[in-house]
């Protein structure tokens, strides 16, 4: 685990082994944002209330602002930047990202780093989510610009596309 740099730890992020020096008690968000220059998980509240900082750890969405680095060690962390390759190693856009662009869904877009991760988690588990299931799954994520209608449309279209129902 430790290598040449004293105290350094290996962390798997978006399919790559990265070396980080932060104390294992540091919330994962600060490791991702400050040490690894990732921009997908974003600080919104620091209290797991809004979902701006969401990442996947072994396929499950967590709030990186409260989860310590220690609990991500030895597991696979995926951020919004890595969600396309997590879906399929040779894709540059997750179908959801395609549909979000097609729907011109974001306004300021700040919450989308977390929205994309949370919706991708759903689409991996449920190929045909109902509107009510999507709402229940996404309800812990706030979009202050109020882009929920276009987000919902994009998630439904992405699910249909992933089922092969649309191009």
């Amino acid at each position: 685990m430790n290598d040449d740099e004293a105290g350094a730890t290996q962390l798997s992020v978006n399919g790559e082994a990265r070396r980080v020096a932060s104390d294992p008690a540091t919330p994962l968000l600060y490791v991702l944002a400050d040490e690894l220059d990732l921009k997908g998980p974003r600080f919104g509240c620091g209290m797991a209330q809004c979902g701006s900082c969401s990442v996947l750890i072994d396929g499950r969405e967590v709030r990186s602002c409260v989860v310590p680095l220690a609990s991500a060690l030895g597991k696979d962390v995926v951020t919004a930047e890595g969600i396309a390759r997590w879906y399929s190693p040779d894709s540059t856009l997750h179908p959801l990202q395609d549909e979000l662009i097609a729907a011109q869904a974001p306004q300021c877009g700040f919450c989308y780093g977390g929205m994309v991760v949370k919706a991708a988690e759903l689409l991996a588990a449920n190929p045909a989510p109902s509107r009510a299931q999507i709402v229940a799954h996404m309800d812990g994520h706030i979009c202050r610009c109020g882009t929920y209608p276009r987000l919902l449309t994009a998630i439904e279209r992405a699910a249909a596309r992933m089922r092969g129902e649309t191009a």
Binding site: R42, M47, A105
Partner: protein, 739 residues
Amino acid sequence: MSGARLSSPAELTRRGLLKAGGALLVGFALIDPLARPARAQFGPPPGPDREKIDSWIIIHADSTATVLIGFVELGQGATTALPQVAAEELDLDMDQVRVVAHETEVTPFQGGTYSSSAIANGRPQVQRAAAEARAELLRRASQHLGAPLADLATARGVVSVRGDGGRQVTYGQLLGDRPFEISMTGEAPLKNPSAYRIVGQRAARPDLAEKVMGHRTYVQHLRLPQMLHARIVRPRGQGAFGAPPRLLALDEASIAGMGDARVVRENDFLAIVASREWDAVRAARALRAEWDIPASLPDSADLYNAMRRGVAAVQVVLEEGTPGEGSVHSVRFAAETPYQAHATMAPNCALADVKADGARVWASSQDIYALRGSLARLLGLDPLAVTVQFAEGSGTYGHSLYDDVALGAALLSQKMGVPVRLQYERADEHGWDTFGPAHIGEVAIACDAAGKLTSYSYDGWQHSWAFVETTEQMARGTPARGWPMGPSRSVNPAVCGGMYALPYRKLTDHVLATEEWPRGAWLRSPLDLSFTFASEQAVDVLAAQAGLDPVAFRRLNIADARWLGVLDAAAEASGWTGPELPPSGSLLRGRGVGLGTHLKGWGAAVADVEVDPESGRVRILHIWGALDAGCTVNPDIVDAQITGQLVQTVSRMLLEEVHFTPQGVTTLDWNSYKVARFSDCPEITPVIVQHLDQPSSGAGEEVMAAASAAIANAFHAATGKRMATFPFTPERVRAVLAG
């Protein structure tokens, strides 16, 4: 070092926008912002000369253009729609125009990006500059090709001679990467709207791919070498604007061992800086500081009584006409509405690099020119030695803490001698926001037997906005000072009866002293949701007395064709036949209508509301929002803006309320200050009433006031009761239904 790469100042000058060897473009108008009394009265500050084409448009060798825009991207799409305007007049396509980052001395002053002004004010400015640029390019092409102007045609940056397609020259050949070096002539013809190819059409926003792929750079991501991370330390939740807390004692040992975190203090301004961000965060949480926090506010449970007691001045905003004859129906209606927060997704953040002879600050301010003046004052620097570059943050919906945080970052950088990135925490943002002020409205209206309005009066109780940021107050002891009353803080003639033909109207402000209340500032459609909540409910009550349907009553009294256009558009889209809707089991349902705008533009809304009389829970089922913004440059962006307005209105009507005790604000997070989530979001139907031949008015906040009224009227249609305050919490609803 980590983070987004920042260009050096030299790379970001206007000169750098042209290829090496380009002529110097900048011509300053030497105006001293400090000599002016208040930023509200600022004229154009120092910056690129707005009468020079070069201040707006740069033509490159490949015949593409850079457009210099003085408005900022707040997520609203201004940096897509304004290039559409430029492309249209220049006869370029959208893939041939781009914008540069908004920065003092680089981009021209167009006013702050507020009051939904980016298109309303920006479109004619950009349109004129682009038309002037095209006229000059055609003049040069005419010489170059030896053909009269009338024979020239332009497309995609190529000027050709009609009927002789072989004779052509490109914009790039005529001017590529060289300045125009001419002033506006005032004679360049504008394109006829009937010939528009780009304006009025959907154009995809170039910023959205990065935003969904996760690698968009926000101000929060900017980093500089040797930079320190900073957090402020303030009491949790502000008291009155005029009674800032005093720092009594400090225990620096309480943060021992947290990396290199250390305390920085300037009078009552207190902060932590550290090399590593998490060390700054935990030290700011751990620091033991003792504050003198005066009991400076009423309890929010007694807010409206305190407001009625606290009137400092009564001012008539407008009185016109004489009451009409034959009033037989009359209504008095009073409403009370709370402080509400901007509650930005991202707590504000700024990066500052202050040196002895100058400063560079990256901030997500709505007005970087006004911020430059404030920074210069705080730092003791000449304004021309301060550069502010806009860096996108999260949506702000008005004046949140973007300037406060920029001042703090700059002060800390000056004290530390290195760049400082100051990031607010959630409780800082929620607790020290400049809120949308609370309001009491009393409406008295009357109509004759036929239902024609005969008189209208509106009395409003509210205070103005805080002129001084908290950072300045705490660091410098700057006395609290409010903005004078004026548009967006006084009773608004556009929404308080402005949509109706009225023989008599009187609007009155009951002004509260700004210093005695929580900090106020503009919050999207400032006070308008409150004004129409009172006024348009009164209109519905009067309509019922006159025995008229709410839509029919409004049609009868409406002021002009534009108002009628949006009312009909909303009524038609919703299939309006009346306010009654059948209940769904034990759930009551009703439909309401409302009219409203902000300062310009025309908005109408219809809402379907469901009320559970047992629990008091209110659900908005569907809202139709119609907006006439004159010429809508990009209908897809405006569709999104209407949607966002309607969702935020649902949030503000059902959920949002700032609470406080005498010692300070207590709604400090997303649990105590709730906003709309997916499950609160109704079905939304935006309707755009397009007038390509008209000037553009705003589209960022002109439907909210109509929607707040529609929701209130729908609640009445469902329950037979009137809500006199919002948000419609289950407790309030149960109390009203029991009353």
